[in-house]
């Protein structure tokens, strides 16, 4: 890797590291002339030290494979993006990926102990050697994680592993009114419970997943459901489940049930994790957005997304990590209808504006990439973005490494983006 980078440097050719290419913001998409360095063949597990709950992997190692490799011994790797059977841990580091279970366990950055990185001059550096925490110096691990491949190419990763929880229970709660579901989310947290996962889907999303590969048989006339999972010490779980059931009933739940066995639980999760792809079953094209809001503003934001849907005359499904306020509005459109892609793109951007307006963020886990670079302006001033590009300059002075990503280029306007972010199934 170092040799390749040195050579590209000498020739002044820009380049991009690429994992599985599942990124949803165009981070690994070339804008013109970049050499793409694929890391999928660097996929070895280099070390497993269960006593210290650590594993060292190459960047092309597939997320889910790590958990599969260690599950026999009762361990797992916590960050679980819905794309986990395809995406690489290197890509996860670059995007600081999350997943359904990051409400309780945190996102990728909370699980990275060490990185080997090839810098833009070809130098190889090891940060967080041997996974020892808090090594003296600025927190480069934290800075590199989520830097979308613009500060260096990650060639080795030391991750923290967790032990499987002793007990786990999953609840499915159907609501007739989406505000009631939102209220239940807040009340569960207010009851002092941190569920492992707290997911929500609205009626259009449900229409999609029920038409896709893993239908559960959700009632079709509900406004939303919550999928809630609690895990931990077995003796403490039932009390938490009782509290959750009480909260749901107080919020006028229509029906609430606890998964009766692992098969049922798995089906509920498969149905949920199919979420994005399932949109393909009800729409020719769809666009995934990824905004974050303070959890307490959920009802208001959902109402405003509904207004956007009407304004652009496009259906918007909502699938989200409700517990941490991470929304995924899925904008359904048909690219073959002239003008619809542009409308979808504008609707998506407006959803992010709403998130920014209520004090949130324009991305919770999918990253900025090319897709949202213009929207960075919704939340950061030019001065604040300059503070970030100044840091990029330290690592990537000639901007050969994944150029044109993350930050809006002066003069680059929102309209140019159309067509770039279409996701089709």
């Amino acid at each position: 890797m170092s040799d390749v980078v040195k050579c590209l440097n000498k020739l002044e050719i820009p380049y991009i590291a690429r994992g599985a290419g599942t990124g949803l913001s165009g981070g690994a998409t070339p804008l013109g002339g970049e050499v793409i360095i694929s890391l999928v063949r660097m996929k070895r597990l280099l070390d497993l030290d269960l006593e210290n709950r650590q594993a060292v992997v190459e960047p092309g190692f597939i997320n889910l494979k790590l958990t599969q490799t260690i599950s026999g011994k009762g361990y797992y790797y916590a960050p679980d993006p819905s794309s986990q059977n395809a995406c690489t841990i290197g890509g996860n580091v670059a995007e600081n990926s999350g997943g359904a279970h990051c409400l309780k366990y945190g996102v990728t950055t909370n699980h990275i102990l060490g990185l080997e990185v090839v810098l833009s001059n070809g130098e190889i550096v090891e940060i967080g050697e041997h996974g020892v925490p808090d090594q003296p110096g600025y927190d480069l691990l934290g800075l590199l994680t989520g830097s979308e491949g613009t500060l260096g190419i990650v060639t080795k990763i030391t991750v923290n592993l967790l032990k499987n929880p002793e007990g786990k229970k999953t609840v499915l709660a159907y609501f007739d009114d989406i505000d009631d579901a939102s209220q239940a989310v807040s009340d569960i947290i207010a009851a002092g419970i941190i569920p492992a996962a707290l997911e929500m889907m609205d009626d259009i999303a449900i229409e999609g997943v029920e038409a896709a590969a893993y239908p559960v048989g959700h009632p079709r006339d509900i406004a939303a459901f919550l999928l809630i999972e609690v895990d931990g010490i077995a003796a403490g779980i039932d009390d938490q489940i009782d509290d959750i059931l009480t909260v749901c009933k107080k919020s006028h739940v229509r029906e609430v049930k606890v998964a009766k066995d692992e098969a049922e639980r798995s089906l509920w999760w498969a149905n949920r994790k199919m979420g994005f792809g399932a949109m393909g079953a009800i729409s020719p094209d769809y666009l995934v957005q990824d905004g974050v809001i303070p959890r307490t503003r959920l009802p208001e934001v959902l109402a405003r997304i509904n207004d956007i849907s009407r304004k652009y005359d496009l259906r918007i499904a909502n699938i989200f990590h409700a517990g941490d306020g991470n929304l995924h509005p899925l904008i359904l459109f048909d690219a073959s209808v002239p003008g619809e892609s542009e409308r979808a793109s504008k609707a998506g951007s407006e959803c992010l504006q709403v998130c920014a307006d209520v004090g949130g963020s324009i991305t919770g886990e999918h990253g900025v990439g090319i897709e949202k670079s213009a929207e960075m302006r919704f939340i950061f001033s030019d001065e604040e973005m300059a503070a970030q590009t100044d840091i990029r300059h330290v690592f990537n002075p000639d901007d050969l490494l994944n150029p044109g990503k993350l930050f809006p280029e002066p003069g680059r306007c929102v309209e140019v983006k159309h067509g770039e972010k279409k996701a089709t199934v």
Binding site: P136, L140, I193, T296, F380, I391, L406
Partner: protein, 438 residues
């Protein structure tokens, strides 16, 4: 030295002459300026930057002995008076707070709503959140709850030229742009002054338990096995803190190696885990359990060991030092036994504890200056053989250079220098306070 124009940027009564220039911990300033607002901070820094004056930043002063080989800067900027909670969003479990607020003030306020900030560093009534974040301080419970980097979701930073830059945001999940929060956590105030912090909160635990496992003399090697067994189980310890005999004596009255295992969960779950410990201990090893208030008080005592910036003894024979040692978690028991053994051979007295689940150990040393230096060097070199490091988190000013506070520079030092150069090109902020003289 006194600039004719500093009076023009802050009120007269915010400026004090330093009447204690020979502070044994250094890190002072010719002039002391009390900041009461972000604007004050910005004005002072912009002024200093323009006139090439150096600035030391201080809040609670508990870390005055942590790094720094410059006795006196031109200005000591005090944030002690810049305190208070800006916003507590109960439903969102987030808190926005000013840097001079003490951890105790934060906990007291949050407890009214059944919430807490899950950080347990030392001296909570003195240590301010700004200082804790800047120094990346943590305590035994980071095993389950993580350290500062896992709790900070946003900051406002005053850059040396007076710019105010927001990093992160106010939501618990956010990947927009670089994670700039991380740059300022543990940077010892060398990249900017933190003027506001937004943190992720947790609900207060429903029930607290503490299992204290006492290892009789000669059986300390079994700590490792007990810790390993527990980490390989499905129990969820909040801490797995190993205490050396002298430390344990102070806290429990019994001079034995002791493992302090905290549990915070539903009462039934705490009981189940305590029972698991009882059932899984090797024969002949005793344990005791404390609950709720008793457990909290026990932890509170642990948080009041060691130096705090105000409790140094004038007597040279009682010079105090503190070390933070990082290692693989599994090496913690053996590092603590070494810390104990070397104390005897180096004529210093030592109290130490470390997390067998997270790898951070604290060693508090007391003795003559030369012995402390020698002890530090010996211990550091042994720790480095195990791929760990030792940083001096408290030392009198005169000992910092000889002890080499941060140890050797890392291989990627040029990146650290580059970041410093980017944020603070004139090197006015906490000069020589950090790794490699940054």
């Amino acid at each position: 030295m006194v600039s004719p124009t500093i009076e023009s940027v802050v009120l007269k009564d915010q400026i004090k002459r330093n009447d204690e220039p020979e502070h044994p911990l250094g890190n002072g300033g010719d002039q002391i300026i009390e900041a009461y607002s972000e604007e004050d901070i910005s004005n002072v820094l912009a002024h200093a930057n323009e006139h090439g004056k150096t600035v030391t930043v201080m809040s609670g002063g508990t870390k005055r002995g942590y790094g720094g080989t410059m006795k006196q800067a031109d200005i000591l900027l005090s944030l002690k008076g810049f305190q208070g909670i800006v916003a507590h969003s109960v439903g969102d479990l987030t808190l926005t707070v000013r840097p001079g607020t003490t951890l105790k003030a934060i906990s007291d306020k949050l407890a009214e709503n059944g919430q807490c900030l899950a950080l347990d560093p030392s001296w909570p009534e003195l240590a301010t959140i700004g200082g804790v974040i800047a120094a990346n301080e943590s305590g035994p419970k980071r095993l389950l709850y993580g350290s500062a980097r896992d709790h900070v979701i946003g900051t406002r930073i005053v850059y040396p030229d007076g710019r105010v830059i927001r990093t992160g945001g106010k939501v618990v999940k956010n990947v927009a742009g670089y994670d700039m929060n991380k740059l300022f956590i543990g940077a010892m105030g060398t990249l900017g002054v933190i003027s506001e912090i937004t943190l992720k909160l947790r609900p207060l635990p429903k029930y607290e338990g503490l299992s204290l496992v006492h290892f009789p003399d000669g059986r300390e090697q079994e700590i490792h096995h007990v810790a390993k067994r527990l980490m390989d189980s499905m129990m969820e310890p909040v801490s797995l803190e190993v205490l050396t005999p002298a430390t344990a004596e102070k806290l429990t009255g019994q001079r034995n190696y002791t493992l302090a295992i905290a549990w915070e969960d539903q009462e039934k779950a705490v009981t189940q885990q305590e029972n698991w410990v009882a059932a899984n201990l090797p024969a002949g090893i005793r344990h005791t359990c404390l609950h709720e208030q008793d457990a909290r008080e026990w932890w509170d005592q642990l948080r009041h060991l060691g130096p705090n910036g105000y409790n140094d003894d004038v007597n040279e024979a009682n010079t105090q030092a503190a070390l933070k040692i990082g290692s693989k978690p599994s090496d913690v028991p053996s590092i603590l036994t070494m810390a104990e053994e070397f104390a005897e051979s180096h004529h210093v007295s030592v109290m130490a504890h470390g997390g067998a689940g997270h790898g951070i150990s604290r060693v508090y040393v007391n003795g003559f200056p030369d012995d402390i230096i020698a002890y530090t060097k010996t211990l550091r070199s042994e720790v480095e053989k195990k791929h760990g490091y030792a940083v001096c988190t408290h030392l009198p000013f005169a000992l910092r250079e000889p002890a080499n506070v941060w140890g050797e520079k890392p291989g990627y030092f040029s990146l650290l220098e580059g970041i410093k150069q980017t944020n603070d090109p004139k090197k006015i902020l906490n000069r020589h306070r950090f790794v490699g003289g940054i």
